[in-house]
């Protein structure tokens, strides 16, 4: 098993990074009830880990015994019936799902599953917990309609079910939903915290860590604990014992994006634009989400850019990212950004150096 999974804290007590949040959560559920929760924070900060630990705290080991199924729903929507399929993870106490996988029909999923859970309330012999927990991932990707319908059902069925929402950015969750939840912000861990975790893992695995090595990985990880642990293990697979100046292998796609960035910086011509398009297609085909490509591309370009241009380029990147969300064919928008950048940058170069 990978370290990142092996050393994932299973209980709230063992949480290293966000121990304050963990202890608060523990207090929260030690009393019988619990409100709806909304976890938000950047990727790799430990939201999921906290949620799973919380569930275990609430329901005991039974919450860990999950099974995966492909559920199918038949939904009566007035004149027609809609058939939907979605993969869910569920235990006897909770159901976890990604409603945004259903695309624009996510609304039905949200309504239907909560109703269904309300219908068959768990009968606990001890009469202890009269509710089930529904974990919804990627709430920020839910359509507006789905969030609206979520608002209603959250109140109506609150007696029988609790929602735990999880997302990256709370700004994409409507105000109405946010106000119905206890918002828990999970910060990205600081570099020191990451170093602490890495050293902990190193100790458990019995590894010799050169001084400053963990710090370098932490630096490189962009404050994502998951990425740091994964990079740590990648280093281990690549070369052990560690050396002080050992390179940290980059993620394959990040490396590719930075190659694209240097392609763009080195030459601005139609020919190069064409080449870049081919590479962007490759990234997309390899299932890298376009938003992430654009973001990474921007940060790579900014590294090499004259400070005069940075503001303008950021503006355009934001502009095209927004349009990408409105549109459907992501490549068109990324390409438009690249073309725009080339045109600005070339103009700048000529104006500066003649």
């Amino acid at each position: 098993m990978l370290w990142v999974d092996k050393y994932r804290p299973r209980t709230l007590d063992k949480v290293i990074v966000h121990d304050d949040i963990a202890s608060n959560l523990k207090k929260l559920v030690s009393e019988q009830d619990c409100p709806h929760l909304l976890f938000y924070g950047p990727p790799g900060s430990g939201k999921k880990t906290l949620i799973m630990a919380l569930l275990k705290q609430m329901f005991g080991p039974g919450a860990e015994k999950v099974k995966m199924e492909n559920k199918a729903w038949k939904i009566d929507a007035g004149s027609r019936t809609i058939e939907l399929e979605l993969t869910t993870l569920s235990s006897t106490h909770h159901v976890e799902l990604n409603p945004s996988d259903a695309g624009f029909q996510d609304r039905y999923i949200v309504q239907e599953i909560i109703k269904e859970m309300a219908k068959n309330r768990p009968i606990d012999t001890k009469g202890k917990k009269g509710f089930k927990v529904l974990v919804l991932n990627e709430v920020d990707k839910l359509s507006r309609e789905a969030q609206h319908s979520l608002r209603r059902t959250m109140e109506k069925y609150s007696a029988s079910c609790r929602l735990i929402l999880c997302c990256n950015s709370s700004s994409k969750v409507t105000e109405a939903v946010r106000s119905r939840c206890l918002n828990i912000r999970v910060n990205a861990p600081t570099n020191d915290q990451i170093v602490k975790v890495l050293e902990f893992i190193g100790k458990k695995e019995g590894l010799q860590l050169p001084a400053g090595f963990a710090a370098r990985i932490a630096n490189h990880s962009n404050r994502s604990l998951r990425r740091a642990v994964l990079a740590f293990e990648t280093c281990k697979v690549q070369q052990y014992p560690f050396t002080v100046d050992q390179g940290i292998p980059p993620l394959d796609w990040e490396q590719y994006v930075s190659e694209i960035a240097s392609d763009i910086i080195n030459e601005q011509s139609p020919k190069r634009l064409f080449l870049v398009r081919g590479k962007l297609y490759e990234l997309l085909v390899n299932c890298i989400p376009p938003q992430i490509i654009l973001k990474k591309l921007l940060s790579e370009l900014l590294k090499k850019l004259d400070s005069e241009l940075k503001h303008e380029i950021c503006h355009w990147a934001a502009y095209y990212e927004h349009r990408m969300c409105l549109g459907q064919k992501a490549i068109f928008h990324i390409e438009a950004f690249v073309a725009k950048f080339m045109s600005i940058y070339k103009g700048f170069l000529i104006a500066t150096f003649g």
């Binding site: 098993m1 601005q268 139609p270 890298i288 989400p289 992430i292 349009r323």
Partner: protein
């Protein structure tokens, strides 16, 4: 003429400076066959000879710098030109126009009939080689201009000169060193054009014409000049002959075969009871059919789309007439009756089914009914359609003798049009008619209608009239998306009118934007003009790309929110603006490959992406099922893949074979990864410029890995149901079902703590039963007993019917899972087969 003048001005404004003309155009490269003309080279032009460039035609070096002369309209009549390579100042299309306007003919390749090869530089190539071989004269652009200019002051003699002794003429014009820029008095192009045509091939007196108009004006020309005898038909002689033969022998073949005792001739593959004539509209399919039946003494009964041709009732087929009967059935049954009564002189009939491809709309089951009619018919049936490959006619084609009408060539059409023009007393020359034939795209009916229409206002029709008229009212032909993009992006794309552009982009509102998006980078925009460092072009590119992205956003509004009123805005943003910005000459951005528009790559990439997403989701589900990790799909791809790849491949590279394989399989088991997932991870980590992730791994290792994985699958803790190999079933059950199947021994030895209390109990129960089953060689799929087991097959489904349907495969997999523990005989047998 006005048009091209405008163009010249446009270009002149932009092209500020042209490269200095280097003397000596490299005439030496031209063979001696060119004769005296070659030696008299005047040394103009770019001096770029010797550079071979097949893929791409360059801009004329002195584009738009020269005055295009205006000559007598017929000064090039009877001459045939072939254009090769880049000309000095004219685009190829412009040159063609110029020649045609003056009565010359332009062909694509050099033949014996070719009089001149118009080429400014000898680029080698096939055309010039052929020309040398045939001794064809080479002609430069300037010489062509001279020829045309000469014709103006002395119209008739030049014309004669040219048609008869054009070679000498050409030589003469070579000898004279013509001034480069003669100011031809071009102020009144109108007057120049009006110069009377001296020798239009058919000169009919006006009086005669008037007389004719007087008598037959009530009929449209299409009716008036409809072919009366088969010889009048244009084109497709062999097909007409075939049709004739078929119809003539139909009765011997099909009606009397029983009596003559020849046996069933129908088995003969060449003999079909019906024919299917296909071809574009207006090329004489119906006319041929009618004409031939008439000639052979058949009475033609025509059934077309206006008649009801739906499926007839079975009873009617048996001869009872009723309200739902249709004409075909009646006709056939009538014929059967009449022949049985042996009316000696009954008229033979033929059924012409016109427009069979339009039969689907109101005629339910029409085609099927027609087929059954053909089977029993006692009369010949001629079916006519436009598109033989239409999906609707697929079944019909095999019952018919397919005869495909081709479009007549423009020469053939022009000949017939000339006959008509002569008969109507219209003054028009051959080239003009050919142009007309060309413009209507082979549609004879259309051509005649156009001619008729024009005859109402003119008595003399010349090339420019046709051009001006048909440019606007050209036939709505089926334009392919590629052709549309070619036109939009073409050098003259800027001259298209707005409605033309909309038409072009709407010719396929889905494909055209994709092709445009794919290719816009390849165009060197005209509007960039002189662009030393390429900034202008890049600016245009950025604008274009943004506009295309706009188009995508509009498209979302159209498709997702059904805002169809935006479709014009969509095509404006995704096609017209990009084309307006970028139109120009196409250039190649990478070495090799053809220089024409590629098909839109987005579709292919998108489907590959969809496939990869599916594969990724499979791997994701497996990882989730392993309970080792709880991550989402994006995280899996973005963060995990690099390490997963390392874990899966690195041991194979560095460790000794056995331990490496062992290690990788262990890892795969820990995450419930299947072989397919392994391949998925490899596939999704491939980047073109990066080394292949499997590089440096011996194929033998890969094979060993597969073997080991298969071996281990016997004892594997199967968590995802689609990973179970069922002995009898090759494919995994289509729908994934919730099932965590754990063989008991594995539970006992390896993973005791993983089992929740409830599950252990149920598994214990199972084990006794499962052992019983495993004793048998063939696992029994006893659903009853399986149902009693407490397997984790929880299907919280809304509908009961569905859950039952789903339980079946789950039970099967359970049974096979238990059999795996025991004998494994059947399972292994199944595997070995593969």
């Amino acid at each position: 003429m006005d048009e091209s003048d405008d163009d010249n001005e446009e270009v002149e404004e932009k092209e500020v400076k042209t490269p200095t003309k280097s003397g000596g155009r490299g005439r030496g490269g031209r063979g001696s066959g060119a004769g005296p003309a070659a030696s008299a080279g005047r040394g103009r032009g770019g001096g770029r000879g010797g550079f071979m460039n097949f893929g791409e035609r360059k801009d004329p070096p002195h584009k738009g710098e020269k005055e295009v002369p205006e000559g007598a309209p017929e000064c090039l009549a009877g001459l045939t030109f072939v254009i090769s390579g880049t000309l000095d100042s004219l685009e190829r299309e412009e040159a063609e126009d110029l020649i045609k306007r003056h009565g010359g003919r332009v062909t694509g390749s050099v033949s014996k009939k070719t009089n001149f090869l118009l080429a400014d530089e000898d680029i080698g190539g096939k055309k010039s080689a052929k020309a040398k071989e045939l001794g064809t004269k080479f002609l430069t652009e300037d010489e062509l201009f001279d020829m045309i200019r000469k014709s103006k002051p002395a119209k008739a003699p030049v014309k004669e000169d040219l048609t008869k002794k054009h070679e000498e003429k050409a030589n003469k014009s070579h000898m004279k060193s013509s001034p480069m820029k003669v100011k031809v008095e071009d102020d009144q192009p109108g007057t120049a054009r009006k110069t009377p045509v001296k020798s239009a091939p058919s000169n009919v007196s006006l009086s005669k014409r008037k007389a004719q108009i007087g008598e037959g004006s009530s009929l449209t020309w299409t009716e008036k000049y409809r072919p009366k005898v088969p010889n009048d038909l244009i084109g497709n002689p062999s097909i007409v002959k075939q049709l004739h033969d078929w119809l003539a022998h139909w009765h011997e073949h099909f009606l009397h075969n029983g009596q003559k005792g020849k046996g069933k001739r129908q088995n003969d593959s060449g003999l079909k009871k019906a024919v299917l004539l296909s071809g574009t509209p207006g090329i004489g399919k119906s006319t041929s059919a009618k004409l031939i039946s008439q000639m052979l003494g058949f009475e033609a009964i025509e059934v077309n789309a206006s008649d009801s041709r739906g499926k007839a009732d079975n009873k009617i087929f048996k001869g009872v007439s009723g309200s739902t009967s249709n004409s075909i059935k009646e006709l056939i049954s009538n014929e059967i009756l009449s022949s049985s009564k042996k009316w000696s002189e009954h008229k033979k009939t033929v059924l012409i089914m016109d427009e069979v491809d339009g039969m689907s709309a109101g005629d339910r089951g029409g085609v099927a009914d027609l087929i059954s009619s053909i089977k029993v018919s006692k009369v010949p049936i001629i079916c006519i359609c436009n598109d033989r490959y239409s999906q609707k006619l697929k079944s019909l084609v095999s019952y018919c003798l397919p005869l495909n009408f081709r479009k007549p060539t423009k020469q053939q059409m022009a000949k017939r049009l000339m006959q008509i023009a002569t008969a109507e007393g219209l003054q028009v020359n051959n080239i003009t008619l050919e142009e007309l034939a060309d413009r209507v795209n082979g549609d004879m009916r259309m051509a005649i209608n156009q001619l008729h229409y024009m005859s109402l206002s003119h008595s003399i029709i010349n090339y420019d009239d046709i051009r001006a008229r048909l440019l606007s009212s050209a036939k709505d032909e089926d334009i392919s998306p590629f052709a549309a993009v070619d036109k939009l992006f073409g050098f003259n794309g800027g001259k298209l009118r707005m409605d033309e552009r909309i038409d072009l982009s709407m010719s396929d509102p889905d494909l055209v934007p994709l092709i445009i998006q794919e290719n816009y980078i390849n165009y060197r925009p005209v509007s960039a003009g002189k662009d030393e460092n390429g900034v202008k072009r890049l600016n245009l590119l950025a604008q274009t790309a943004e506009s295309i992205a706009d188009g995508d956003i509009v498209n979302v509004q159209i498709r997702r929110y059904r805002q169809w009123q935006l479709s014009q805005a969509g095509s404006l943003a995704s096609c017209i603006i990009p084309a307006a910005l970028m139109h120009g000459n196409r250039e190649m951005l990478e070495q090799g490959g053809p220089n024409y528009n590629r098909f839109g790559g987005w579709l292919g990439k998108n489907s590959t992406m969809g496939k990869n997403l599916r594969l990724l989701e499979d791997a994701h589900v497996h990882i989730l099922a392993s309970q080792a990790s709880n991550i989402d799909r994006v995280t899996l791809r973005i963060d995990y893949f690099t390490l997963l790849l390392k874990q899966l491949t690195e041991p194979l590279r560095v460790m000794p074979k056995d331990t490496a394989v062992q290690k990788v399989v262990e890892f795969m088991n820990a995450y419930s990864l299947s072989q397919e997932d392994f391949d998925t991870i490899m596939e999704l980590s491939k980047f073109k410029t990066h080394p292949n992730p499997l590089e440096g791994i011996q194929p033998t290792l890969k094979a060993a890995l597969t073997r080991e994985y298969k071996e281990a699958s016997k004892t594997r803790v199967v968590r995802a149901p689609d990973l179970i190999n069922l002995p009898g079933i090759k494919k995994a059950p289509k729908k994934r079902i919730a099932a965590i199947l754990e063989p008991v021994d594995a539970v006992d030895s390896g993973l005791p703590e993983e089992n929740g209390n409830g599950l252990v109990e149920s598994d214990e129960e199972n084990s006794s039963e499962a052992d019983e089953i495993s004793g048998e060689a063939e696992p029994k799929l006893d659903l009853q007993s399986d149902k009693s087991k407490g397997i984790q097959v929880q299907l919280d489904l809304k509908t009961d019917g569905k859950s039952k349907a789903k339980k079946a495969p789950a039970n099967k997999s359970r049974a096979s899972g238990s059999s795996e523990k025991g004998g494994q005989s059947s399972g292994r047998g199944g595997k070995r087969k593969r």
